[in-house]
């Protein structure tokens, strides 16, 4: 390989580092109506009266819309392949508001000031209803969050709106209790992970225009342009052919932009008024009315022999989807399906879950997507089991961990065809100098350092669902246009896919021109989520190149006047294997533009029957201040098996970023509501993400494996990298000061109180 596995710069790097206007708000037309959303101050209420007459008289106000003005047809904002497993429980505007921040009215005017003035003049009379804020009380509560008759679940996910249930399932071995009886040691604990905000630096934003064909054009900072097209059409109850979605550069996603949080509002305003419109969420709106990680409570029961062979794992997850069900039925699955298989040698497993509605903001997709929550629980209880058995946590893992060739019953019975988890562990252990540092070192100044580890796995795309597609055409002088349907969120997929194409076509990356997503012209791609782009869309690139090379050879042979079987293509020319005849790609490309019936264009899709997991080992070294309980991450060492690495620099940075986000989740980040359901952590003042002084030193290495179903042996990397931070840090804190924290974040208060209790 010449180009795959090299750290070339991203194709858009120079635009990004010189501050070029490439993002949604930079390119929005100047004459857009400015949109703002009037939001509910109540967690649960019915709108009895809403008067917009006075507000509409504010000079510069163009339109105000309420629930009376929108289609009464429910949809979901979840960015998922149709038919979405997420329930159709949304209206653009509803008479019932279900969380503090739910939208009550859409106000559009000539500028921000007039819109803000008008918002204050809208008179709303609410019938305030009792709210459910505690997700443990939601199931079968007499208060119903979605009592409406046109609520609809498209897929059989165990949803029942008359029970506040967004999803429910039982899976695995019904006779597991018998296996527990045979175990020498049985341990059960409950772990609680809170909602977290993805906080991409660019807040949610979109603008809409009407084009000359009378079609609605939506330009959005989104990970899921093709799903946005469907969601907008569903919301407005118009034909999908009337909607076009374009994705410019986007300022980070992390799953936040896998939900169409706000595109329907500018789409609706422009559809109703014919005017250009735009909506830019403030940071406060992005914190209060978006799609944070699902809060989950994971209870694990684990049974083992006294020499440390794990025989049974029983896992129950309670997940809080909030006011709406976006990604509720699907995130929860990963809490079991991507935690249990790490210890696939257990002969029995069971996985059950409930996903409930509450009157908090709707949860959604966030990097790790449920696996993060389940793995925190699993990797914590493994350490607790090790302690109970008196075995080193690494030894216990070595006895039970999944290895290459193993069947993973809890992972849809897939086999681990490529798995270097054992080598990752070996290497990470050496990187941190585990044997000399475990479990703790008293630094002598009131500070104690401890080490702890965590395993992680994820998938690579959603098996039998996701589709990645690309198209490549040969243009003048033989350069290639690569059209991708997958969204580059900054992680560099436009470049990575170009690298794969250049490798296949035997040319330089500079000879590949890449174009991001426009639903009118790009081939369909389900979107950039579920760690699918490099694995899945990358395979579509390989297939497309193969087809294109056949076409180039066919045309070249025709121009050389020889049989196609007798020629080959080396990236620069088609040549006769026997004679010295040859024709350059440049000449083929230019000749093909006159009197030719064989377009030098190919487009292929790819979907996978399996979702091969990448694996990772993360080891944290933390320092606990015994006087305050404050935890500092000093070192974080990680080794990742993502198959073949296409661009080491980009993969490394993505891993470091995932670990840092995980550190935030472990130590600080918490979405906190008042007892009335309004959000306290509504700005970066209160919601603290890590700064560069909070992450210690992160060091990343790769341990390669070869995934037979991926392009050049590739698996994914996007999500697996966030999952080890929380358990590794929790385990390190325990090893340092003997305090077991089972509820994130690991605040100084919790650690300090734990230390007091121990005394």
């Amino acid at each position: 390989m010449k180009i795959v596995n090299t750290s070339i710069m991203k194709k858009d790097a120079m635009a990004l580092v010189t501050g070029k206007p490439v993002y949604t708000d930079d390119i929005a037309p100047k004459d857009c109506l400015v949109i703002k959303l009037l939001r509910s101050p109540h967690a649960h209420a019915l709108i009895e009266e809403i008067n917009t007459d006075i507000a509409k008289k504010v000079p510069g106000i163009h339109s105000i819309f309420t629930y009376k003005d929108v289609p009464n047809k429910r949809f979901t904002m979840a960015g998922q392949t149709y038919p979405e497993p997420s329930p159709y429980d949304r209206l653009i505007l509803d008479q019932r508001v279900r969380y503090v921040g739910d939208v009550v009215a859409i106000v559009a005017g000539e500028n921000e000031k007039v819109v803000e003035k008008a918002m204050k003049l809208i008179k709303v009379k609410y019938q305030v209803l009792e709210a459910i804020l505690d997700f443990r009380k939601a199931k079968d509560n007499k208060i119903l969050i979605h009592p409406e008759d046109n609520w609809k679940a498209l897929c059989p996910v165990g949803a029942d709106n008359k029970r506040n249930l967004c999803a429910h399932a039982n899976d695995g071995d019904e006779n597991i209790d018998k296996v527990f009886e045979e175990c020498d040691v049985v341990l059960q604990n409950t772990y609680h992970t809170k909602a977290n905000q993805q906080t991409p630096m660019e807040t949610f934003r979109a603008y809409a225009t009407m084009d000359m064909f009378g079609r609605l054009n939506v330009v959005s900072s989104t990970q899921i342009p093709f799903h946005v097209r469907r969601i907008v059409a569903n919301a407005l109850d118009i034909s999908k052919s009337k909607v076009r979605v374009i994705k410019p550069r986007i300022g980070g996603g992390f799953g936040a932009k896998q939900t169409a949080i706000m595109e329907v509002y500018p789409a609706f305003v422009t559809y109703m008024t014919g005017r250009n419109s735009k909506l830019i969420f403030t940071r406060e709106e992005s914190q209060t009315a978006s799609s944070p990680r699902h809060e989950m409570e994971v209870t694990i029961k684990i049974g083992a022999t006294k020499d440390g062979i794990i025989k049974a794992i029983d896992l129950y997850t309670l997940s809080n989807t909030g006011a709406y069900g976006e990604h509720g039925p699907t995130t929860v699955g990963l809490s079991g399906h991507k935690a249990i298989p790490l210890y696939s040698k257990a002969k029995s497993y069971r996985f059950r879950y409930d996903v409930v509605y509450t009157n908090t903001m709707s949860a959604g997709a966030y990097r790790g997507y449920g696996a993060t929550q389940g793995i925190f629980a699993m990797e914590s209880i493994i350490d607790e089991l090790a302690e109970k058995l008196g075995i080193n946590p690494i030894t216990l893992r070595e006895k039970n961990m999944v290895r290459e060739g193993d069947l993973m019953p809890a992972y849809y019975r897939e086999t681990a065809n490529s798995c270097a988890l054992d080598r990752c562990l070996e290497r990470a252990k050496a990187m941190i100098d585990w044997d000399n540092k475990y479990p703790r070192r008293d630094m002598g100044n009131g500070k104690v350092r401890g080490v702890g580890l965590g395993f992680s796995m994820q998938g690579s795309s959603i098996s039998n669902v996701d589709v990645g597609s690309v198209a490549i055409k040969v243009s003048d002088d033989g350069f290639y246009n690569l059209m991708v349907g997958a969204t580059d969120m900054g992680t560099g997929c436009d470049t990575v896919l170009s690298q794969i194409a250049a490798e296949c076509l035997d040319c330089s990356v500079d000879n590949i021109i890449v174009h991001g997503v426009d639903t009118d012209t790009s081939p369909y791609d389900s979107g950039s989520y579920a760690s699918s782009t490099t694995y899945l869309t990358g395979m579509a690139v390989v297939k497309t190149c193969e087809k294109l090379i056949t076409k180039i050879k066919t045309l070249g042979a025709q121009y050389l006047n020889v049989d196609v079987e007798k020629v080959d293509f080396d990236g620069k020319k088609v040549f006769d294997l026997e004679d010295n005849k040859e024709i350059s790609l440049k000449d083929i490309a230019n000749k093909a533009m006159c009197n030719n019936n064989n377009t030098l264009y190919a487009s292929e899709s790819h979907s996978s029957k399996v979702s091969p997991p990448p694996y990772m080992v993360g080891i944290a070294e933390v320092e606990v201040d015994t006087e305050t309980g404050k935890v500092d991450v000093i070192n974080y060492k990680a080794v990742v098996d993502c198959g073949t690495v296409v661009n080491p620099a980009l993969a490394r940075v993505q891993t470091e970023g995932g670990i840092a986000q995980g550190i935030g989740m472990a130590l600080y980040e918490d979405v906190v509501y008042t007892n009335k359901g309004s959000l306290q952590t509504h700005s970066f003042m209160q919601y603290k993400i890590p700064t560069r002084k909070d992450v210690g030193t992160i060091e990343v290495q790769f341990e390669s494996s070869y995934e037979p179903t991926g392009p050049f042996g590739v698996k994914s990397i996007g999500e697996v990298v966030i999952n080890t931070s929380s358990p590794a840090i929790a385990n390190a804190v325990y090893n340092a000061v003997g305090v077991r924290i089972r509820e994130l974040p690991i605040t100084p208060e919790k650690v300090f109180m734990g230390m007091l209790e121990k005394k």
Partner: protein
């Protein structure tokens, strides 16, 4: 109200609303590199210079810039490219949304500090948040850039 200032060396006279934030004012003048990540002076994305000193323009009134020289990344294109290449080599440019504010602060740091340790670098840049990179790649880029500026290799 009337204001008179220089944006990237160009004299600008305007009649503005008194409550206009500097961030919005410079964006309205085409300096679209200046981004807003929060409204509370927490993220550093809106960093620009007033008389060569970095400030957070989301919470500074445009009126405060009256009579002063404003610099944004549009006015430092060559330097942005020079440092940006180090970021791009590390893959630390990522989504790019925080890059302008971060680079404005890095370039200010290079002008302001004479000698500095790793801790000094982190301290100077601590107000520039980034959610993509985990900061390690940015740090490697800054270190490599400083080394190059002192006569080391690119």
């Amino acid at each position: 109200m009337e204001i008179k200032l220089w944006i990237n060396g160009k004299l600008t006279e305007d009649n503005i609303e008194p409550d206009t934030p500097l961030l919005e004012y410079v964006r309205s003048k085409g300096c679209l590199s200046v981004k807003r990540g929060c409204e509370t002076s927490n993220c550093g994305l809106c960093t620009l210079w007033i008389d060569e000193k970095p400030v957070l323009s989301c919470t500074v009134l445009a009126a405060r810039a009256n009579g002063k020289h404003i610099t944004t990344l549009e006015g430092l294109q060559e330097e942005a490219k020079e440092f940006g290449e180090f970021m791009a080599k590390e893959g630390a440019d990522q989504c790019g949304y925080c890059n302008p504010g971060f680079i404005m602060n890095v370039l200010a740091m290079v002008r302001e500090l004479k000698e500095f340790s790793d801790e000094d670098i982190k301290e100077y840049l601590v107000g520039n948040l980034c959610r993509c990179t985990g900061y390690m790649g940015q740090f490697r880029a800054v270190k490599a850039f400083l080394n190059y500026k002192r006569g080391g290799e690119r």
